[in-house]
């Protein structure tokens, strides 16, 4: 499918050597939204939790110490930047790398919640993310083998073959596993309203944006 018919009129190309970024209104909107959210997260603070104790009239406050807070904020900001990069890139290769980076960062963000239940769920998520690197990288490699290029600008004019569609389906499975299922596991951490939970929002946001972008890329490859 033509790039123009999916994301609106082509606003321009940014050629950086063999990496060519192309800008649509659609990509530009998602890129800017992601950057704004990343900025909000960068200046945000963790919430302090007050727990009522059983048997007494005391309350217990749970706070996050500065070191852990910094580590979490760093992971969230990098995750936001990676998502923004995945929105604007015009290259299957970069999209794959950004997606796998988001997978690792999601594991890091969720696993910084030190509760046994949450660690249990992030262990399961990490296993699925590791397994899904097979369809993700394998699908991208199959598309590369079938097209001879990973640039979306070049792929859009190639007529889809069976191998390309197979690779695209594999890539979709990989994207689902790397970041699409992350909210189901992050919600376990959110349900308990853990101290410092606002940073988990970036997990939801990045998976939402990534899935939209991946579907657009798959439409470019398959049609």
């Amino acid at each position: 499918m033509n790039i123009g018919s999916l994301g609106g009129d082509l606003l321009g190309l940014i050629p950086l050597g063999d990496i060519v970024l192309y800008i649509n209104p659609f990509h530009l909107f998602m890129f800017v939204t992601m950057l704004i959210f990343t900025f909000l997260i960068a200046i945000g603070r963790t919430e302090t939790q007050v727990e009522t104790q059983f048997g007494t009239l005391d309350d217990k406050t749970k706070t996050v110490d500065l070191k852990e807070f910094r580590a979490r904020r760093f992971l969230s900001v990098v995750c936001g930047i990676a998502t923004a990069g995945a929105m604007i890139t015009g290259d299957l290769y970069n999209l794959t790398l950004f997606m796998s980076l988001i997978g690792i960062l999601n594991i890091g963000i969720i696993s910084s919640v030190k509760q046994i239940d949450v660690l249990d769920s992030v262990f399961q998520y990490g296993l699925i993310a590791m397994m899904c690197s097979l369809p993700l990288f394998g699908g991208a490699a199959l598309v590369l083998g079938a097209c001879g290029t990973v640039s979306l600008l070049a792929i859009q004019s190639i007529k889809p073959t069976a191998m390309m569609i197979f690779g695209a389906i594999l890539m979709f499975i990989g994207a689902c596993g790397e970041s699409g299922i992350a909210p189901f596991f992050a919600s376990k951490a959110e349900m308990f309203r853990t101290p410092g939970s606002p940073f988990l929002l970036i997990v939801h946001l990045s998976s939402l944006f990534i899935i939209i972008r991946v579907i657009e890329v798959l439409l470019i490859i398959c049609t």
């Binding site: 046994i116 660690l119 394998g138 490699a141 199959l142």
Partner: protein, 226 residues
């Protein structure tokens, strides 16, 4: 269909599809194994096999772009397996400490009962170090670092105090700088390629050797910790 250059042998072109299917079948069977396995450490190890199957599928394409897919793929696999094993360890520690405060998962002190550590470890260390310096580069660094590890182990096995070298991590930084300078020289002054080659090789030697040495010293610190 993508035109394959004529100088690529026909066997390599014909290997593409079988390798892809092999990778997918290995991945499928390891998924079945993961579904059947119950212990989590085994699941973690089996998951790594899926990663190797990924390398197979990517490598089947066999171009330089595919090679540049393999490197990040390997790094991602490695980072994820490290992160997940850390999660597993910290979760088990939390589980144990929630029932019994005094119990920890920290490894027990090792008991070395090997003849090689008492007979001639110093000579062997010297040989390994000399051979590593002779080889230079990554392999040489690994061998020299192995020599340092053997030395630390033998001192520990004989109950002697280990000389603590504080600057060993600084040496690693110097090696890194040498490598970077060599990389810049390659681009700026290509006529001195031999100098930059040896600079890079010596830098890598220092870097890898001190890395292995650091492993030995850190291991001692971790295990000796109360």
């Amino acid at each position: 269909m993508v035109p394959v250059p004529p100088y690529v042998p026909l066997e390599i072109v014909n290997m593409y599809l079988p390798v892809v299917y092999t990778g997918l079948i290995i991945g499928f069977f390891s998924l079945i194994a993961i579904a059947m396995e119950k212990r989590q450490i085994h699941i973690l190890i089996l998951t790594d096999i899926v990663g190797f199957a990924m390398i197979l599928v990517v490598a089947s394409v066999g171009t330089d772009l595919a090679e540049s897919f393999i490197l990040p793929g390997l790094v991602v696999e490695l980072a994820e397996i490290l992160a997940i094993s850390e999660i597993l360890i910290s979760r088990e520690m939390r589980k144990i400490q929630s029932t019994n405060i005094n119990k920890t998962l920290a490894p027990l002190p090792m008991k070395y009962d090997m003849e090689i550590l008492t007979t001639a470890p110093n000579f062997l260390t010297l040989v390994l170090l000399a051979y590593g310096v002779f080889l230079t580069g990554f392999t040489g660094g690994a061998i020299a670092g192995g020599g340092i590890l053997l030395y630390v182990l033998s001192r520990k096995a004989r109950g002697l105090p280990i000389v603590e070298i504080e600057g060993i991590s600084g040496l690693s930084g110097i090696g890194w700088c040498m490598w970077l300078i060599a990389l810049c020289l390659f681009f700026l002054l290509p006529q001195y390629w031999l100098l930059s080659l040896f600079l890079a090789a010596a830098g890598l030697l220092l870097k890898v050797a001190t890395k292995m040495g650091i492993i030995g010293i850190f291991m001692r610190e971790e295990y000796g910790k109360k």
